[in-house]
Symmetry: C2
Subunit: 457 residues, 2 copies
């Protein structure tokens, strides 16, 4: 048997007991009455980091809740990895919907129930135990590691970007490893190698000086709501593709390898539709639903408004109407260029008699680490070995702001090696963590550091 696996198996009960200790601390970052608890969790981690042999362990101030920093840099010539995670948790309301209290960890059916079990204390803890195991079994780490465990992720990571920017030298690394994402499904080892980005804007259509009476003016006055509908309808082609000129110009195409890897997941579109309660999955033609969700950009109307919205009838011709729009971006789209294109489209398609006003919002580019990057390859090897099944490439259609922060400030590739499952109720009552992934995940992380050392030396 693999020496690391043997060590982890031998110490499993002890590890779970320690994790439960951490889970008992109600480190809810959003609630000021838990401020001391949040710091207590940071200090628990710092103590544990020192105990297992990490260096330069420090609870560092951020202006908000502290971060815990540590490192072990005694592997000359080896790659430097920054491990990011968070020790704060979500609030627990409605607390009476929990089967067992959120801060009294309980194991049922091979799952550990507690707030933070999977998001993200459990996964942060796995990293500590793997470092401990490597040092115990091998006397040294195969790579250099830095740890940055924050306490404000669940309340918006308000101070993280500033902290990372201010300590860019301290945190400098060849790769950032984050264990805060989910596997594709139970029993499917999988690695998130890309996230979508975002670009936001608002469009307003302005007609007459004020709302008009539809009897006196209907037929010869511009109707802002009508013009808005007409304008918004031009944003997509009838087949579902975005019709904005240049919208797809910078999109990095999916490789055949990526498409094959997605297809191997056998995404069940029927089940997905049943889940949403819809009978079709409209979108860009030429791509599967999963490809569209993960690897194709979108343009979505998030809200639409104008004129009379109350009960009954009001015979008014609205003078203003508007819509909120966000685009999900993929590599290598530049948010500003996308906003330029959408703004130009909206202005070019302005219906007669009205004016179009565009208010640009913020944006963030997509994140991707190429699947042939040695760190990604190391993670895939480790996952395949630890789970005994071929690891799959997956993406996420959403954005994770902290990931963007690391990519932007540190310029390092990101490995999102997460072990939770979508069904584990993060942010909801009865959050839990499947212990099968606690075990397999640590076996994978143990192997990952070795493969990373080999691949990036």
């Amino acid at each position: 048997m693999h020496q690391g696996d043997a060590y982890l198996t031998a110490h499993r009960e002890e590890h779970l007991k320690q994790l439960m200790e951490l889970l008992r601390i109600p480190s809810i970052s959003a609630l000021s009455e838990h401020k001391a608890d949040v710091r207590r969790a940071a200090e628990w981690l710092a103590r544990e980091m020192r105990r297992i042999g990490l260096h330069r362990v420090e609870v560092m101030e951020t202006g908000g809740h502290p971060v815990v920093h540590a490192e072990r840099m005694d592997c000359p010539g080896g790659p430097k990895a920054l491990i990011y995670g968070h020790y704060d948790v979500q609030p627990v309301d409605p607390v009476d919907l929990w089967t067992t209290p959120p801060f009294e960890p309980t194991i049922r059916d091979g799952k550990l129930y507690a707030r933070g079990a999977s998001d993200d204390k459990g996964q942060v803890f796995m990293h500590l135990k793997v470092i401990e195991a490597l040092l115990a079994v091998e006397g040294r780490l195969p790579v250099n590691v830095k740890l940055l465990i924050e306490g404000e992720e669940e309340s918006g990571s308000e101070n993280l970007e500033r902290f990372v920017s201010a300590h860019a030298d301290l945190l400098k690394a060849d790769v950032v490893v984050i264990s805060d994402t989910a596997l594709y499904a139970r029993g499917v080892p999988s690695l998130t190698y890309a996230l979508r980005g975002l670009a936001a804007l608002e469009v307003h259509v302005v007609g007459a000086k004020g709302d008009l009476h539809s009897g006196a003016f209907g037929g010869a006055a511009p109707n802002a709501a009508q013009a808005l509908a007409r304008l918004l309808a031009t944003l997509h082609r009838p087949d579902g593709a975005v019709a904005v000129e240049g919208f797809y110009d910078q999109v990095r195409p999916l490789s055949q390898e990526e498409r094959d890897s997605f297809a191997a997941l056998q995404f069940d579109e029927q089940a997905f539709m049943a889940d949403l309660g819809v009978t079709a999955l409209p979108g860009e033609p030429g791509y599967t639903a999963l490809e569209r969700l993960w690897a194709r950009p979108t343009l979505e109307i998030n809200g639409i408004f104008g004129g009379f919205q109350g009960e009954g009838t009001k015979t008014v011709i609205p003078c203003r109407a508007g819509a909120k729009i966000t685009c999900r971006l993929v590599p290598d789209q530049d948010p500003e260029r996308v906003l330029d294109a959408v703004e130009a489209h909206l202005k070019a398609h302005c219906p007669p008699g009205v004016k179009v006003e565009v208010r640009r919002g913020g944006g963030a580019p997509a994140v991707i680490t190429p699947i042939d990057h040695p760190a990604i390859q190391a993670a895939m090897q480790a996952l395949t070995e630890a789970y005994g099944a071929e690891a799959r490439f997956i993406r996420s259609g959403g954005s994770i702001p902290v990931v963007g922060t690391f990519q932007r400030v540190l310029g390092a590739p990101i490995v999102m090696m997460g072990f939770s499952l979508e069904e584990e109720n993060f942010h909801a009552p009865d959050e839990h963590f499947h212990l099968e992934n606690f075990d397999a995940g640590m076996r994978a992380l143990y192997r990952f550091w070795h493969h990373l050392a080999e691949n990036m030396r």
Copy 2:
């Protein structure tokens, strides 16, 4: 000189004094503290009606404010006309914007300032004085008349339909004459011979079971706001015409005579645009703006709503979005058939992945009295003679509910012979009435009854 004109001129000062007496009564029907004032105005009218020689004068109960009824039916073989008007007035707030107090009638620059001066006490009073003049000068009326002067017009005519239905025999007439509309413009004798009708509905587009996160689902889930925009955009053709199949099927075309009469008004589209603050007057092609406003049906979006409408950005895919729609109808469109057509269109154009729900609202048909009707011709002759300028046919793009009531319940043609001007601030501070139309209007009404007797004998 015409004997009637001579009489009216001779008694002008006395008539104005009497009108001012009526205008001093604050008969605001919407404010309960003026309940007694409203009745006082009804009784003032009843007294005056008796004094001038009308018969069967009665203040009749309606459940709300009373109506005043009277008649003079001693013209055997002559046409029977029902004169409708209202003696109640709008509230006067903001009262400090009045140059002189609303219930202290004052003449300035040939205009009589007071609440109700033009809407509608002044015009009701003109009818009484013309009847008085005819009886004084000629000893008899050339026609049979009934009068129905109500006290709830400014608060929605809540009891009128029931009253008219309950007293259909009492009110039965060959023609209904209403003096509560405006001339086209100062110095332009004009007669409103048609009003538009209305049909209302609401459409809702329903996507997934609930709002969805645009990161997790964007690209493969239906967006109700997007689908709504696409659906609404199909309701009009790019050229501005309504694209609903069958929408125009029942529309009575404008005759060349009507078009010529409208054209003679030399409607100033540039001034109209400047007034609205717009640079185009989009609408159905093939018609002037005035023709579209008065004689063509419309389909207007009165309100549009769905998804996130708050500050900032929310990356949501709305599961519901909707719009309120009203159509202005023209003769001979049936509101139910129009609603059928719009509903069928909306369902037929339902975008993929969503459901379309239609909630039908109420409707009312348009009102028209053909321009060759003898009563209309009588009014046109009278106006032309009294103003010394050719009278014009005009329409109104709006609806006047009481007119619909008379058409529906009594089945009689309507003559809307009104003498106010749009600029006279009805419902606003400094309501006034141009005395030139008080004078010319009575001269016209005096002649009208004679022409009506000739044309409809």
